[in-house]
Subunit: 204 residues, 2 copies
DNA sequence: TTTGTAGTTGAATGTTTAGTCAAATAAATG
DNA sequence: CATTTATTTGACTAAACATTCAACTACAAA
């Protein structure tokens, strides 16, 4: 079965990091190859364009994040706690990223989506798909919270869309301002939108 | 006083449109010149880089938008109505853009900011400045609403930041999904965040 | 140990891009 | 009308970039 290699993985990691810490437009195939320690010929052996590589990397990145989200949004956890945990996780994650890269980088999918949606159809579709999955995590937590009488949310899908917009907007603000502090009270805004009363929203 | 020209203005219009309908990275000096009907030599006569042109265009674009915002956020208008009008205006504006370009384009500053904030310091600062002005419009409406007893918002600056994140997040979602419908109930989310009771939020 | 296969390499290609400049041109002013 | 000043032009260079390919290499199975 011939020679073996992890060059493909290295290329996917490299492209993800370069796009996230910079932008899609500023990420060239040369840079990707250099970062991955791979020669251009090998790049074209595995992929036939930057956008194809980006699409595969996006998919892989999402797959690896999913496990974490499944844990956070486990139906075993009380619904409002899921949301609170998600906000805490996100805040902590961005703090670590800032530590590591010297920069708040926000949400990879939202940032990339906003940049390329008018130009790269395949990527745009993949991103929309991922964002929709994210929305579904929120939606089920909201539905459960409604069923438990914790909040009034007769249209969980709509509420989830609103909350996702807020969440992604905050992350993008944090990226633009390079300031994690923006994210400190993420959950406050979400609970306000959900009409959670202070007492119900209290930490256990 | 020598030859006169509107080439500078044409260049600023061209760059704004190209970045907004595409991205900063995909906008080249050649494209800008072609769109503006200006030769490259002239470009470098007026500006010495794409980022300098973009910064001037950003400033000019903001100046021209300010008048409209002053009207919408006039202290003569009841505070919650200002916010409602702003949402309606924004929704209508994006519908017109979609009509005109075949695409929802969202917020020029937020989209650009998210793309270039890690790479173009000067632009990042300008954008942060503009976003902060936007926040101030919301902040004063919130403060007035609080003073009028319409809502409870002891920290209007913080609330305004939350609402701006939501608003920009929605616009970006609309851009990514190329769907104005996302914006239909913008005000619903804002009023939920502000804790506006249905009756108080009712249209006059 | 041979052979098939998966992956690697570096050099070469053509294209796009940013950036420069000296000469030409058009308007305004004296 | 002559001169000054602002703007335009097109042709040029050099670097960055994407893309191709034939020859080469390492591994695995037969």
């Amino acid at each position: 079965m011939g020679r073996v290699s992890d060059a493909k993985e290295r290329l996917m990691n490299a492209v993800s990091e370069l796009i996230w810490s910079g932008s899609y437009g500023s990420t060239t195939i040369d840079h990707i190859c250099e970062k991955a320690g791979v020669k251009k010929g090998s790049f074209y052996y595995f992929f036939d364009s930057k956008s194809e590589l980006a699409a595969e990397a996006l998919e892989a990145g999402w797959k690896s994040k999913q496990a974490e989200l499944d844990r956070i949004f486990s139906p075993m956890v009380p619904p409002l706690d899921r949301i609170r945990k998600y906000c805490e996780f996100s805040y902590k994650f961005q703090r670590e990223i800032k530590e590591q890269y010297g920069r708040v980088l926000g949400c990879p999918q939202f940032t990339l989506g906003s940049e390329i949606c008018t130009q790269e159809d395949r990527l745009q579709k993949k991103i929309q798909e991922i964002l929709d999955y994210k929305r579904k995590y929120l939606e089920s937590a909201i539905r459960d919270a409604h069923a438990a009488g914790l909040i009034k949310a007769p249209d969980p899908a709509h509420k989830a869309g609103m909350i996702l917009a807020y969440y992604e907007g905050l992350l993008t603000q944090a990226r633009i301002q390079n300031d994690v502090d923006v994210l400190r009270d993420t959950v406050g805004g979400i609970f306000a939108m959900l009409g959670v009363k202070e007492t119900e929203g209290a930490v256990a």
